[in-house]
């Protein structure tokens, strides 16, 4: 039973990459759909549309980041993987903020991004502002990233 620690820890890492990655994939997809419509009308806006499309893509990267830190902490990428079930569950819990908030915020951010493409279409001069609306959503992904990261670092130092 004691061996299950690593299973839960890896589950946590996988969830972080899964949730955030899946959210970003959906989000960037949404952006791409709306963006290609806009580019059909005005190909010159491709660069700016691309920026808006990519904004919800960062959650996937944060998920990868959390997954990677977890993997290297629990010794899956080389080293010893010797810890109990409690610690494994702690790693799992630490990964959850990134997994869940990453998924939800990526999609919410993508919706804001799509709406911002409307600004870009009708008021191209207001691009600076159009970028800010999706960026507001990202704050919460960053906060989740922060908590997940600090938790993983903290858990690694615990001796249980």
């Amino acid at each position: 039973m004691d061996k299950f620690g690593i299973v839960f820890a890896l589950l946590g890492a996988a969830l972080a990459a899964l949730g955030a990655g899946a959210g970003s994939a959906r989000g960037v997809g949404l952006g791409g759909e709306a963006g290609s419509g806009l580019v059909t009308e005005d190909p010159a806006k491709f660069g700016k549309v691309l920026i808006l499309q990519l904004l919800p893509g960062t959650q996937g990267i944060y998920g990868l980041l959390i997954a990677f830190i977890t993997l290297s902490n629990i010794g899956v990428l080389g080293g010893s993987a010797d810890f109990g079930i409690a610690k494994g569950l702690l790693y799992l819990a630490a990964c959850l903020p990134m997994a869940i908030v990453g998924y939800v915020s990526a999609i919410a951010q993508a919706k804001a991004s799509v709406a911002s493409m409307g600004i870009l279409a009708k008021r191209p001069d207001q691009f600076g502002k159009s970028m800010i609306f999706p960026a507001m959503v990202e704050t919460y992904a960053i906060l989740a990233l922060l908590i997940s990261m600090l938790s993983i670092n903290g858990v690694a130092g615990l001796s249980i």
Binding site: I51, L54, L55, G57, T58, I61, Y62, L64, L65, F68, I69, L77, F127, G128, K129, M131, I132, A135, M136, E138, T139, I142, L143, L145, L146, M149, L150, N153
Partner: protein
């Protein structure tokens, strides 16, 4: 921190000088035309819509022609050419173009006509090819398809929708002998036949044929199919030749491409000129131009105008009520981020231009978010190269944008060295993989590794955030001072600064916070007491004064209390700077992941492994730099717009939009050789 002082200018000139004066103003491009004089019986405005629409028509013709031209003769363009900016031509070339105008327009129309001819020719070929396709099965028939028969016989020429052999057909029609059947061609889809019967039997045969799903050919020609086919293919090749000659005719115009582009610019300038002409007030003999001009340009423009023409220039300081346009003016270092400020909004009346302050923080924040010496050097070198290569022709806005990233790159390099990140940990990975070094890191960070000590990095990010936010309040102090709202300075800005600082000190003295941040500093209890008192006092001031526009004391208190609730906003603002840590770590750790992935196959595959190593590194780091530079750009903007501007800046100024040469391909410069 500067906006150019604007002056109101009025030019009174003789109508005969109208054209040269306007052209001079357009070339100088320092004057924004505004029509402030109402029409009356003496001064009237011209209707220019008709003239302008003829210019617009010419622009469209030239545009279409140059598009057609580039679809036939593609232009040699390098990837970097978008940085090149407009081509510079001299004033002489500009004025000489008038004589070439009609020629160029004629060429444009010729190109369009040629293109039309090509399109029509292609359509004809398609039509002919369809007919050829239909005639092909009949090639072996040596009489026309509409041959009816002789005096004594009836002829059926047509198809069956499946394959028949001669034998089978004779069997089917055996009872109607004598007849003659020839199979012209046969395939699975259809059998083309020629059947000759005597007149007396023709109806019965026809009935029988119908029951076998016989149908007449869909094409009907007077000539034998083979002959007709030849005629068709001759016609196709003739049209093809025609198309080729039209194409080469278009290609021959390639040397006129520049003229076509310039024609668009030329007509655009004329159109703009006429638009202004429609705005200015004119009497029978004189005309008046009014507008805004940056003060530093007034002297030169006045001297030049008065020297060249008979006119009078009047310059006055605009009144407070006027809607004065805004033009920012900063040194090159700060000016580079003007586009960031303009992207939010230009300063409204009574606000200062925050560009200089924004620029300092911008470079620092961007650098911390990307924080990699390798990426920083790449950015710096790339931007520097582009800036140097196109230094003569580059557009002002592109130049600003590139120099912004140049400074951001320098800052990124600096913070990368501080935090010991060089393409992630590429040196360590190379050293351990190929040289068996165990003593990593090879280049230790100048300060510390954020990955190993994230709490320290978090604390640093938030301190930077506090400094940024307090700077915002300080600018507010300055702004209120300029507006002479001295009470506001104390109530709306200073009280908040005191509250933020004292609360920070109080928080720092809490054991919990100290533990989280790993701080060891001991704050003396006297300072703790003092900051506690200051915190309470400033909170009281905020509660009592921030609702001072309300007369009802109860309402005023509630408003003040609500304003104090804004401290939570400041808390979240400070927390928001944790993105410095998050994004900084993200770019660093993803770089590490790439290096690790590259190192995995490197050991096992020997020499091939080295190549794989290099490919993964190149691809991975290109991706990482692109994504993280984008992230750093967006989030630096966000920190400026939301956390920083939120404290003092709302913007809303109108941008200075001078009457100038708004061209797309060329810019006219006087004295090209000197400048």
């Amino acid at each position: 921190m500067a906006m150019l002082q604007m002056q109101r200018i009025s030019i009174y000139a003789l109508k005969k000088d109208r054209k040269p004066v306007l052209e001079l103003l357009q070339r100088r491009g320092v004057l924004e035309i505004s029509d402030s004089i109402a029409e009356d019986q003496v001064f009237q405005k011209m209707d220019v819509s008709q003239v302008r629409s003829s210019f617009e028509r010419n622009i469209n013709v030239a545009k279409e022609a140059s598009q057609i031209l580039s679809s036939y003769v593609s232009e040699q363009k390098s990837i970097l050419s978008s940085f090149e900016g407009r081509k510079i031509i001299s004033l002489d070339e500009y004025s000489n173009f008038n004589s070439k105008l009609d020629d160029t327009l004629r060429i444009a129309n010729q190109i369009i006509n040629c293109n039309k001819g090509i399109a029509e020719g292609r359509a004809d070929i398609l039509k002919l090819e369809a007919q050829i396709e239909m005639l092909k099965p009949w090639t072996n028939l040596d009489i026309p398809l509409n041959f009816e028969g002789t005096k004594q016989t009836k002829c059926f020429i047509g198809t069956f929708p499946k394959e028949y052999s001669l034998e089978l057909l004779y069997q089917e029609l055996a009872e109607y002998m004598p007849l003659n059947i020839d199979i012209i061609s046969a395939s699975k889809e259809q059998t083309c036949v020629f059947i000759l019967v005597t007149n007396s039997l023709q109806e019965k045969v026809y009935e029988k044929l119908r029951s076998l799903e016989f149908s007449h050919p869909s094409v009907s020609v007077d000539k034998a199919p083979a002959e007709q086919l030849e005629k068709y293919s001759n016609r196709v090749s003739r049209i093809q030749e025609e198309i080729l000659s039209l194409e080469s005719k278009i290609e021959a115009f390639a040397s006129n491409r520049e003229d076509l582009l310039f024609l668009q610019d030329y007509e655009r300038m004329r159109s703009d000129k006429y638009q202004v002409l429609g705005q200015i007030s004119q009497s029978n003999n004189i005309f008046i131009i009014t507008g805004y001009i940056p003060e530093r340009e007034t002297k030169a423009l006045r001297e030049e105008l008065e020297h060249k023409f008979m006119l009078s220039v009047e310059i006055e300081t605009p009144t407070e009520e006027e809607d004065i346009p805004v033009l920012l003016k900063n040194n090159p270092f700060s000016g580079a981020v003007e586009s960031v400020v303009e992207g939010f909004a230009l300063p409204a009346k009574g606000e200062i231009d925050p560009t200089a302050v924004v620029s300092c923080f911008y470079y620092v924040l961007f650098g911390i978010m990307l924080a990699d010496a390798g990426y920083g050097i790449i950015m710096t070198v790339a931007c520097g190269y582009i800036l140097y290569k196109y230094r003569r022709t580059m557009e002002v806005n592109t130049k600003k944008f590139m120099s912004m990233f140049l400074y951001c790159g320098i800052s990124t390099t600096f913070w990368g060295i501080m935090f010991g990140s060089y393409f992630g940990d590429v040196f360590d990975v190379i050293a351990t993989t190929y040289f068996g070094v165990t003593n990593v890191p090879i280049i230790p960070p100048l300060w510390f590794f954020p990955v190993n000590d994230p709490m320290r990095m978090l604390a640093f990010s938030m301190i930077l955030g506090l400094i940024h936010i307090i700077t915002g309040y300080l600018i507010k102090v300055f702004q209120l001072y300029q507006q002479k709202d001295y009470i506001g300075i104390f109530y709306d800005a200073v009280s908040w600064i005191l509250l933020i600082i004292s609360c920070t000190i109080l928080l720092m003295s809490l054991d919990m916070i100290k533990n989280i941040l790993g701080l060891t500093l001991v704050i003396p209890s006297s300072i703790k007491m003092l900051s506690g008192i200051i915190a309470i006092l400033s909170a009281l001031i905020i509660i009592l004064t921030n609702g001072r526009e309300s007369r009802n004391p109860f309402k005023r208190f509630l408003k003040g209390a609500y304003a104090l609730y804004g401290i939570t906003g400041i808390l979240s603002d400070v927390l928001s700077y944790s993105r410095l840590l998050a994004l900084g770590l993200a770019s660093g750790i993803i770089g590490n992941v790439i290096n690790k992935m590259a190192a995995m196959p490197a050991k096992s595959f020997g020499f091939v492994g080295v190549i794989i190593f290099i490919i993964i590194l190149l691809f991975g780091h290109t991706l990482n730099i692109a994504i993280n530079a984008l992230g750093a750009y967006v989030h630096t903007n966000r920190l400026q717009y939301v956390e920083f501007f939120g404290k003092f800046y709302s913007g809303g100024g109108r941008s200075f939009n001078p009457f100038t040469m708004k061209t797309k391909y060329y810019k006219v410069k006087e004295n090209v050789n000197n400048g």
